[in-house]
Structures are given as structure tokens and as C-alpha cells.
Amino acid sequence: MAAPPTEVTQLLQEASGGNQQALDRLLPLVYDELRAIAHGQRRSEPAEFTLNTTALVHEAYLKLVDQTRVTWKNRAHFFAIASRSIRRIVIDHARERLAQKRGAGADHVSIEQLESEPLGDGHPQTLVGLDDALSALTKVDPRQGEIVTYRFFGGLTIEETAEVLDISPATVKREWAMAKAWLHRELTRTG
């Protein structure tokens, strides 16, 4: 059910050019592909292995996009789109987990968990809390919301983010700093 490369490439080029409709059509395609790769692999290899997601997204990119017809900019956009997909996949999963262990603990977020590594399976509430705060931030400042999505969920660099958003790296840096401070404050609020 994967979309043919030409279609995705076309959509990607249009989305990179600022076509919102193209973006809206592209997102689910990327999302589905990422899920399919991830789950397909999980079925074939039951043992517990860690996953390198840069490679996951890269694989999706290679599958979905006709390499001969895209530029570096298109690639950055693809990774940006993938970031949003990743965010959805991660958060959906975390909410699922949270639902499963409903009642197992208060729904508060520990900042230590965000600052050190164990942001994994063990702390779905932390991720859900972050996602909620990020949604709130996006309402106040959509661009800061996007920056956080790309940087934190997608692993884009300052420069790549600047490219996708078509603003200067200095601006990205400033906005990123403020968004982090804002989210930090939200997540350390008690109650």
C-alpha cells in the first residue's frame, strides 16, 4: 500500500514550495510508511533491539522518494514531516501505555526524567505531559511549536530547521531557547 515514489516526490516538492494541501496529503503517507517499517521489523525480529531512528526515517525516505528528483531542501522538508509523524507515533504509543496502567500513578511530570536519558517506555506520562505542553505552546506561538517538533522529535539541526522554516539560524536559536524555557516552566509547575 506504499505510495509510488513519483507521487510522494511530487507532493514533497509541492510541500517544500509551501503547498499546505500537498503537505496534508504527504503526512499520512510518511506516517504509515514509518509505522509499517517499524512494525514489520518488529514482527520479523522478536528479540529486543534498540533502534536507530535516523536510519528509520532515512529508510522511509529512500522508499518513498525518487532520489533523482529531489534537492537537499526537499530532504530537509521530508525530515521535518517525518518529525511530526514520529511525534504522533511516540505520543500515541505513550498514551496507550498510560491507558493500560491507568490508576498506577499520578499524572505528573518529573523534569529529571526529561533531563536524563530514561525517556523510554517507563515514563509515558512524561512524554504525554510534554506533548500537552507543546500543544499549548503551539497555540501561543505556532512557529516555536514547529521548531520544538523538528528539533526534539525529528532531530533536525538548527540549520536544517532554519531551512525548512525559511528563517535565519539566529532566529531559530533564539526561538528555540525561549520555547525550551517556556516548556521547562510548564513541566516543572506543580499540580
Binding site: 509505522r35 517499517i37 517499524a38 512494525h39 514489520g40 521489523q41 518488529r42 514482527r43 520479523s44 525480529e45 529486543e48 533491539f49 534498540t50 533502534l51 536507530n52 531512528t53 535516523t54 536510519a55 528509520l56 526515517v57 529508510e59 518529525s83 514520529i86 511525534r87 507515533i89 511516540v90 504509543h93 505513550a94 523534569i111 526529561l114 533531563e115 536519558e117 525517556l119 523510554g120 517506555d121 512524554l127 501561543v140 506561538d141 520544538v148 528539533r151 526534539f152 522529535f153 525529528g154 532531530g155 533564539r174 526561538e175 531557547a177 525561549m178 525550551k180 524555557a181 517556556w182 516548556l183 521547562h184 516552566r185 516543572t188
Partner: protein
């Protein structure tokens, strides 16, 4: 919040970030005085900004994907020839995978480090190719081997390393909470490994707890040796050994590394100091804190109580961590020795004088800078000699001159060409020049001159040129006696050094006198156990043992030396390994083969740990252990050791070094015993050539090869040539070793056998009886060689038709062999078979 307010807040926040943190409060007061609507908001954001740290900086991407799929997605299927089985971890340099490959039927498990994007692939690879041989030479039980390298299909460089099943040091400490002694044991093993790498001209440059794994049996393994250098992008010129700030771990970097200054072994010593701090306190060293202070702060949490750290251990850490490289411990080995001294309750040496800064700087630039090759060593020798001479001239001060000398001596010994697989010719040309220069240019500085002469002599000796070594060493001794008087410690050094060379040249009488004099001076100067006394005891004992076969005289000296060294040093230690080897040699020559084999194995294990698989010190121990095994009739076990020893010698010393001759001779003996006379003869002929060239025609070792060749030729019925060889060897042995030396019996024995083969039975009988009497006198009545003479004599008796006499002699021999080796030993059985009937045979003992 209204969108206009948000925009204003953003602008203010952006402006505040441009200011240094300490000015921000004033900025808020100025722009948002108390009561302003945005004041709280701005203050809050700035406050949280200061606390964000690494918050959100590590992308969730990887973590997120880990949540959705625990598959092998993203693991590369293969890297180079290796199947990738899992990710081991990731760090600043990149990702480490576990991989495996099926090679020749056995699974090779490896760790593969794939360097992250952004490092320049071509340069990294270019450097890897340059350094590969050097790094591959690091073969040490406590160092993870670098096996290979290449580029992944997506263009990233990778390195393949030995897979280590272990946990990182800090984790190991947290889980097992070892006591102080165990921590120090770990540390000294690490120091020795680092020192081994330094001797092979490799700096680690990134020593830190995560680069040390502890295996399930508690042994440390150092990872990533030399890898830091491969990734160093500033490595433009060959002589810059600088750090690259991009992947440096600041908490573990030395001051010179942070400055971007050239790195030396002292930088690794600093790294070891930080490591020791962590081992002692469980924390990282920060801002010059003393370990005891950190332990005191942690109270009951501290792994080692502050009271035990205060004093010596604090001082050892502080010395290793001195900001000035030249004031730290001179080497990783010295640091390990210091820790050993502490553990045995001996006074530590910290605070001892160190060398002038300027000199160390010179060394820093030159010692490790150039590509780690023989050329570097030679260039270093040249540079240092010139430099030392200039410095001494400029300084014109006695103290400084001595320091220059100390430095030079230290450095030149550290770059012993034999150890660096040297290019003999080039190093030699250099030495020939430096000797003349020292004589001419330093005549006003006799002490310096004497020290440099000693170094030059030592280097000639390690190049296998004892003839050239003698004059500078004599000069050194004469100067020192003249300037310092007869009882100075430096005079004793010269005495011992010259004695060593004369010993090697077979001038045993003078060598013995020199060793005895050195021992006398040292005993008078130093009290209690001292490494110099142990050295003299050992050298004198060795001479009595080998050259004189004076077991009674040698035994107390060698045993004392071993005891003293065991008290002074913690094994594995080079001096202890030497003494264990020598006591083993004593037992070998006494015919106590079981004791000898056990000690040789101990020494061999120590030497393998200390030096790795390719080192001159291994050769002799390997060889002698093989000889003992041969003597025990365990030829199958001996032969691989002999081949290893021969290959090592050829590799280390070049194919024409006389030491190679001995290894060949011994392998030939093993072949002869298995009846492979053709190969044995060929080896012995080459061996004899090499020995005559290297040791000289009239050296006892050359004589041993001669009589060994004679034995093989006898097997091939080349009586004339065999007889000639025995005669020459007899002549040399009588003259050089003295007529009562047990080796003389080997030649007599050979001549006796030739005589019998020719039917000259009376003559054969008389020669055998001479050999037998000599052996009984010198080796005692129960020595296996006595049995050999008895068997030979029996053969002659039988040939003369005296069956009864032969029988008596064989029974006598059998008794010795049975009590020595037991009734089922092959030699015992062979002799028993002779009692029934069969050919008579007598062989020759080993060359050694």
C-alpha cells in the same frame, strides 16, 4: 496572553539572551520595572532558561523510535565483512555495534565503531592507514586490539576492535564496591598497559572510565587506544600531536589538551591521575580537589574512607595531576611503581625533582610527534643528542647538565631500537657519530660525558654490537672513577654496565670482578632492599650460573635477588620476571626440571602481561621453557615454543642477529630428536654461520652450535666433519670456559662417539671416562648428563664385546634416570630397551 504581549515578551527575552547572565537582572529592572505587566513572565522565562541544561537537547527521535519498534530497523545489516548483531552504545564519536564474522570455521566477535557524520572521512581514513600497523602492534592482555577499519556504504569511517565482554569501570565499581587494594590493583594494571603502549609509541589521549571495561574475571581492558589521534582533524603536519576540542571530553582532558598544546606521554599520565581519583572517590576530579576532601564530603558514601586517602594517596594523585606536564610522574610505569610502593608501605617518591620545563617541551614536540616509526626513533636520537649537547653548553651549570643527562638517558633507553624493531644500520651510524661528538664537545663536562657514554654503550649492546659497546662504557667508568671516586653510586652503575657487556662477550673473569665490585659499592651505599643491589646480585649470580656453572655460588645470589625484588615490586614486574627466569635457569641447569618449568611459566605469564606477544624479553623464556620440556621428553610441547621463539627473534632482531642462531640451534635439536636430520642440519649450518659472525668464532655459544652440528652430522655418518667440529668446540670451551666446565664434557662425549663409530674403541672409552668424571665432579653423581655418559660408555663396552660391563653401566644409568624422571619417562624407557639390545646412542645437551 495577547499576541502583542507575546511579541514584546519574545523581543525582551531575545535581547536579554544577548547579555551576559549577570547583567540580565539589571536589564529586567530597567525594561520592566516592578509593576510592569511582563515582568513576572520575563523573569520566569529567564530563570527557567538558566535551568534548561540539556533539556530537550537530545532529540527524541531515537528514543521515540525505540518505543514503537524494537526491531532491527536501523541496524545496518553488514559493515565490511561483519554481520551486525546489535548496537552496543553510542557516544560523542559515534555508534558502536557488535558484529561477527565466520572466519575459517570459527566465529569472530568484534565491536565496530562507526564514526558520526561530520568527521572528515578521507583524512580519518588516511590517518588510519598510516597508523594501522602501529596500532595493530599493540598486543597486550589489557588493551582491546584494533583489528581493522574502513568506510561504510554510506561513507562513514569505522574501526573494528576486539569484542570485550565486560562492563564499564564506573559500573563495575558501583556494583562490586571493591576495597582499596583491589582498586589499586586495577589501577596499576591500567598503568602498565598504558606504559606498554607508550613504549610502542602510541598515546591513548582519551583515558576515561568509559574507555575501560572490566571483564568477568575482573581484569581491565583499555578501549580506543590511539583512536583519538585518528579522528584528530588538526593533524595537518606530521609532528603535531594535538587535541581536537570537538570530541574531547573536557572533564578528562589535561590542561595542555585544553590549550591545544602538543600532547605527550605526560598527558596520558594526567588521564591516569584523573582515573585514580575516580577509583578512589567514585567521583570525577574537579578543580584540584584532594581525594580525601571528596571522601570526607561524601562521608559514609565514600568508597574509601578519607583517613586512608589523606597523605600518600592524595600526594600521588596531585603529582599525576600537576598542571605542568614536566612535574608529573615521568611515565605510567613510574606512577604504577609509586602505587606499588604505597601498597607495600614503602616511602613514596612524589615531590622528587623533576626536569626543567624547557626540556620537557622539547621532548613533547619531538618524542611522540613524528610518525611512530623507526625513523622517528632515529630522528629522536639525533635531535636529542644535539639538543642535549647544546643545552649543556648553554647552561654551563652542573645541576642542569645533570638533568639534561638524566633526561637523555631516560629517553634513549625508552626508545631502545631493539624494542622498536629497529633499523640497525641507521641507528648505528647515528651512534657512531654521537660517540665522537660526546668525546669532543663535552670534555668540560665529565659527568655528562660519562652518562652519555653509558647510554651509547647500552644502545650498542641492545643492537647486538657488544664490541662497539665496550669502549664507551670503559670511558664512562674511567671518567666517573676519576671525578667521583671509587665508591660513588654512579661508578657502580658503570661497573655493572661494563660487566654486562664483557659477560656478553665471554670475558667472564673481568666481568665477574666488575660485578663483584659493583655489588660491594652498592651494598655499602644503600641500606635494606634496593633495586640497585638486586640488580648486582642478579647479574653476578647470572654470570656464575651460566659462565661458571657454579650452582652453589649462584644460587644464594639469584634467590636473594628474587626475594628482594618480590619485596620491592608487585608482580607482574619486569625485574621480578627476570629474577624468576634466572632462578628457573638455575633449576634447569641443576636438572630440577619440574621446578624450572613452573618458574619459567610464571615468568612467561608475567612477561606476556608486561610486554605483549612481541617483545625480546619473551624470547629467552620461551626458549628455555622449551628446552626444559625437551629435557623432560615432552618434545611435542617444546616444538611450538621453539618455533615461536625463532620467529620472534627473527622479527625483533633481524634475520642475522646471533640470538637468532641460538633459536635455530635449539629448534634443530628438537628436529634431531624426532629424526628429521636434514632440516636439523640445514638449520644448524645457518646457525653456526650467524653465531660465528655475531658472537665470534671463539665464543662458548658458537662452540655449543658446533657440537650440536657435530651430533647431527654423526647421525648422517659424516664422521670427519663431525670430528672437526667437536675438536674446535672442545678447544674453545677449554680455553674460554676452563677445562673443568661441564660443557667440555659435551665435546668429549661427541669425540668419544665418533671414535667408537670408527672402531677406535680404546680411545672412545677413555674420552667417555673423562667426560663422565668431569660430570660427576661438577654436576653431582645423579645428574641426567652423568647417565648420558654411562650410556655412551656402555655402548663402547658392548662394541668391545664386554656385554657384562655394558649391562652394569646401563643399570647404573637407568637408576639415575628412574629416580630423576620416573620409570615411564621416554628416556628411561629408551635406556631400558638398550639393556635388552639395540643400537647405542648418546646425544648432546642443549645450547643455551
Amino acid at each position: 496572553m495577547a499576541s502583542a504581549d507575546w511579541s514584546a515578551l519574545k523581543a525582551l527575552f531575545g535581547e536579554a539572551l544577548e547579555l551576559p547572565p549577570e547583567s540580565r537582572a539589571a536589564f529586567v529592572d530597567e525594561r520592566c520595572p516592578p509593576g510592569s505587566p511582563l515582568r513576572d513572565e520575563l523573569q520566569g522565562l529567564l530563570r527557567h532558561h538558566d535551568r534548561t541544561g540539556s533539556f530537550l537537547e537530545e532529540p527524541l527521535l531515537d528514543l521515540g523510535a525505540r518505543l514503537v519498534a524494537r526491531g532491527r530497523v536501523g541496524l545496518p545489516e553488514r559493515i565490511g565483512p561483519f554481520r551486525i548483531t546489535r548496537e552496543i552504545g553510542r557516544g560523542g564519536m559515534g555508534i558502536v555495534y557488535e558484529g561477527e564474522r565466520d572466519e575459517g570455521g570459527f566465529e569472530q566477535r568484534v565491536a565496530i565503531k562507526v564514526i558520526r557524520r561530520g568527521m572528515d572521512t578521507d583524512e580519518v581514513l588516511g590517518r588510519f592507514l598510516l597508523e594501522r600497523q602501529v596500532l595493530a602492534r599493540l598486543d597486550h592482555p589489557h588493551i582491546a586490539r584494533l583489528l581493522d577499519g574502513g568506510v561504510t556504504s554510506d561513507g562513514r569511517p569505522y574501526f573494528v576492535m576486539e569484542y570485550i565482554d565486560g562492563v564499564p569501570l564506573t559500573e563495575h565499581l558501583a556494583h562490586t564496591s571493591p576495597g582499596l587494594d583491589e582498586r589499586l590493583t586495577l589501577f596499576r594494571s591500567i598503568c602498565r598497559a598504558v606504559n606498554y603502549a607508550h613504549q610502542n609509541l602510541v598515546l591513548h589521549r582519551d583515558l576515561k572510565p568509559s574507555n575501560i571495561l572490566i571483564t568477568p574475571d575482573g581484569e581491565p581492558k583499555l578501549l580506543d587506544f590511539g583512536v583519538a589521534k585518528l579522528l584528530d582533524s588538526d593533524e595537518g603536519s606530521q609532528d603535531a600531536t594535538r587535541a581536537d576540542a570537538r570530541y574531547l571530553t573536557p572533564a578528562f582532558a589535561s590542561p595542555e589538551q585544553i590549550r591545544g598544546a602538543p600532547l605527550t606521554t605526560a598527558s596520558d599520565v594526567y588521564g591516569l591521575g584523573l582515573l585514580l581519583f575516580t577509583l578512589l572517590t567514585g567521583e570525577r576530579a574537579e578543580g584540584g580537589a584532594r581525594p580525601s576532601a571528596t571522601a570526607a564530603r561524601r562521608g559514609a558514601e565514600a568508597p574509601v574512607p578519607a583517613t586512608r586517602l589523606r597523605g600518600d594517596l592524595d600526594l600521588i594523585v596531585a603529582t599525576a595531576l600537576r598542571p605542568e606536564p614536566e612535574r608529573r610522574y615521568e611515565s605510567a610505569d613510574r606512577l604504577a611503581d609509586e602505587v606499588d610502593r604505597y601498597r607495600r608501605g614503602l616511602p613514596i617518591t612524589a615531590q622528587a625533582d623533576s626536569l626543567p620545563y624547557r626540556l620537557r617541551k622539547f621532548v613533547g614536540r619531538h618524542r611522540w610527534g613524528v610518525a611512530a616509526s623507526t625513523l622517528a626513533v632515529v630522528g629522536l636520537l639525533a635531535g636529542l643528542t644535539v639538543f642535549a649537547i647544546q643545552s649543556v653548553r648553554i647552561a654551563g651549570e652542573r645541576d642542569k647538565a645533570q638533568q639534561v643527562t638524566a633526561l637523555l638517558v631516560d629517553l634513549l633507553q625508552g626508545s631502545d631500537p631493539a624494542e622498536a624493531l629497529g633499523d640497525t644500520l641507521t641507528a648505528r651510524a647515528l651512534l657512531d657519530r654521537s660517540e665522537a661528538r660526546i668525546e669532543a664537545e663535552l670534555s668540560g663536562q665529565p659527568e655528562v660525558q660519562a652518562a652519555l657514554m653509558e647510554v651509547v654503550g647500552g644502545l650498542y649492546r641492545s643492537l647486538g654490537l657488544p664490541d662497539q659497546a665496550e669502549p664507551p662504557l670503559r670511558r664512562s667508568l674511567a671518567i666517573r672513577r676519576d671525578v667521583l671516586g671509587p665508591d660513588h653510586a654512579d661508578v657502580a652503575r658503570s661497573l655493572n654496565a661494563l660487566g654486562g657487556v664483557l659477560d656478553a662477550r665471554g670475558q667472564f673473569d673481568e666481568a665477574q670482578t666488575l660485578f663483584e665490585e659493583a655489588l660491594r659499592v652498592r651494598r655499602a651505599r644503600f641500606r635494606g632492599p634496593h633495586e640497585a643491589i638486586a640488580e648486582s646480585l642478579n647479574d653476578l649470580g647470572q654470570l656464575l650460573l651460566f659462565a661458571r656453572q657454579d650452582f652453589e655460588g649462584a644460587e644464594p645470589l639469584l634467590v636473594d635477588a628474587l626475594d628482594m625484588r618480590r619485596r620491592l615490586f608487585e608482580p607482574p614486574h619486569r625485574d621480578v620476571a627476570e629474577s624468576v627466569h634466572n632462578v628457573a635457569l638455575l633449576h634447569q641447569l641443576q636438572g630440577r626440571y619440574d621446578d624450572a618449568a613452573a618458574l619459567y611459566r610464571e615468568s612467561l605469564a608475567m612477561r606476556r602481561t608486561l610486554y605483549g606477544a612481541t617483545h625480546p624479553a619473551l624470547v629467552v623464556t620461551l626458549n628455555n621453557l622449551a628446552l626444559v620440556l625437551q629435557a623432560q621428553g615432552r618434545n611435542d610441547e617444546a616444538e611450538p615454543l621453539l618455533r615461536e621463539s625463532l620467529a620472534l627473534r627473527q622479527r625483533l632482531l633481524g634475520p642475522s642477529n646471533p640470538q637468532v642462531a641460538l633459536a635455530m640451534a635449539n629448534l634443530a635439536l628438537s628436529l634431531r630428536d624426532r629424526g628429521e636430520y636434514g632440516e636439523a642440519e640445514e638449520l644448524l649450518r645457518r646457525s653456526l654461520e650467524l653465531a660465528s659472525d655475531g658472537f665470534g668464532e671463539r665464543h662458548p655459544r658458537t662452540a655449543s652450535v658446533m657440537s650440536n652440528l657435530g651430533d647431527v652430522l654423526r647421525e648422517r655418518a659424516s664422521w670427519d666433519e663431525a670430528e672437526g667440529l667437536y675438536r674446535r668446540s672442545l678447544d674453545i670451551r677449554r680455553e674460554v670456559l676452563g677445562p673443568e666446565h661441564p660443557h667440555v664434557a659435551f665435546s668429549l662425549n661427541g669425540l668419544a662417539e665418533v671414535a667408537r663409530a670408527r672402531g677406535q674403541l680404546q680411545r672412545s672409552d677413555s674420552l667417555h671416562r673423562q667426560a663422565l668424571a668431569l660430570r660427576r665432579r661438577r654436576l653431582g653423581p645423579d645428574h641426567p648428563d652423568v647417565a648420558q655418559s654411562l650410556v655412551g660408555l656402555a655402548g663402547t663396552a658392548r662394541a668391545a664385546g664386554d656385554g657384562g660391563g655394558a649391562r652394569g653401566l646401563l643399570e647404573e644409568a637407568l637408576e639415575i634416570l628412574e629416580s630423576r624422571f620416573g620409570p615411564d619417562d621416554p628416556r628411561t624407557e629408551r635406556t631400558r630397551a638398550l639393556l635388552d639390545e639395540g643400537p647405542m646412542e648418546a646425544g648432546e645437551g642443549p645450547a643455551n
